[in-house]
Symmetry: C2
Subunit: 191 residues, 2 copies
């Protein structure tokens, strides 16, 4: 049952954002009654938070032992999500967390988890000696995540298919530039 | 009269996006009759396009003679706009151009102008010998513009004031990493 609810909820949120995210829409799509939904999620913001956890960004399992591979995995997650069927969730979230206290409140843990996971990638690389001490995790995450987002979002519709064919190669080029620009060594030093 | 209309229109678009962008709202804010607005802009998408030209991103006058200064100027324009009173315009535009043919159509020239101006910054730097031949304009613009956007948009509300105090220093750090990562020489070679 939860899977059907999350499928419907992510589709609804992608299409309509917070202003159109409601139990009526989920009930219509799933046939599951509103009373049952309310029992499980007292507020629609709780449903949104659980839906994001279940169907949106998952980056806390990225830990390959190599900074380059970790950043490519991070870029890959964003590329897949932004070019997938729920590509607008990202922008709705950015806008809705800025505008609605209840969205910001309900998704605090989820968003903090993403930030923590991104920073952990950089911190582990510093520990392994792949990045200089004092490297800013913010800088590396902003460049990779922001660069990927801008790449997908600024591509006009008619160039989308071409962009999608090349996007994983492009992510390598981007990650390599970020590594070079932040003084990373390419491979972890042998233990 | 145009100035009053653009002021009201950018405020309305920032607040409501395309779904709430209409002549009624502009008339309410300015007292200028709908008939007069229609005479000047046959469709609300035309008003949006002219409003963006007059009140939103202006990057085609960036040409300092130095890649680093040009990229800092580009980053600065985005920082000012994203942290200013109309910081949501950017996200509305990204979402609305993806969703509404009439927005995409009316703003084609405006958006193409931004892309061209960004690429020109890189192309001039290649000509001056500041960047290797064959450097991808897309990569540099994605990293700087995307990195700045992600930095502003991912900062939680309570950390905003601190972020804004440091954002121009941060932009220097970011631009320097991008220059280093893309093989740029710091200064233009003497002629």
């Amino acid at each position: 049952v939860e899977d059907r609810v999350f499928d419907a909820a992510i589709e609804l949120y992608n299409r309509a954002g917070w202003v159109g995210f409601n139990f009526e829409g989920v009930t219509r799509a799933t046939g599951i009654g509103k009373a049952a939904l309310y029992r499980r999620w007292p507020h629609r913001a709780d449903l949104l938070a659980d839906t994001l956890k279940a169907r949106w960004l998952q980056v806390d399992d990225i830990d390959t032992g190599s900074l380059r591979e970790d950043l490519l995995a991070l870029a890959g997650v964003f590329l897949r999500l932004l070019t997938g069927p729920y590509g607008s969730v990202n922008m709705h979230m950015l806008m809705d967390t800025a505008r609605y206290d209840e969205v910001r409140g309900a998704t605090t843990d989820y968003r903090a988890g993403l930030v923590t996971a991104g920073r952990a990638i950089v911190r582990r690389a510093v520990t392994r000696g792949e990045l200089p001490e004092g490297t800013s995790p913010t800088l590396i995450v902003d460049l990779v995540v922001g660069g990927i987002q801008n790449h997908v979002l600024s591509t006009p519709a008619d160039l989308r298919p071409k962009m999608e064919l090349q996007m994983y190669d492009y992510a390598q080029e981007m990650v390599d530039a970020v590594l070079l620009g932040t003084g990373a060594t390419r491979a972890a030093p042998s233990a």
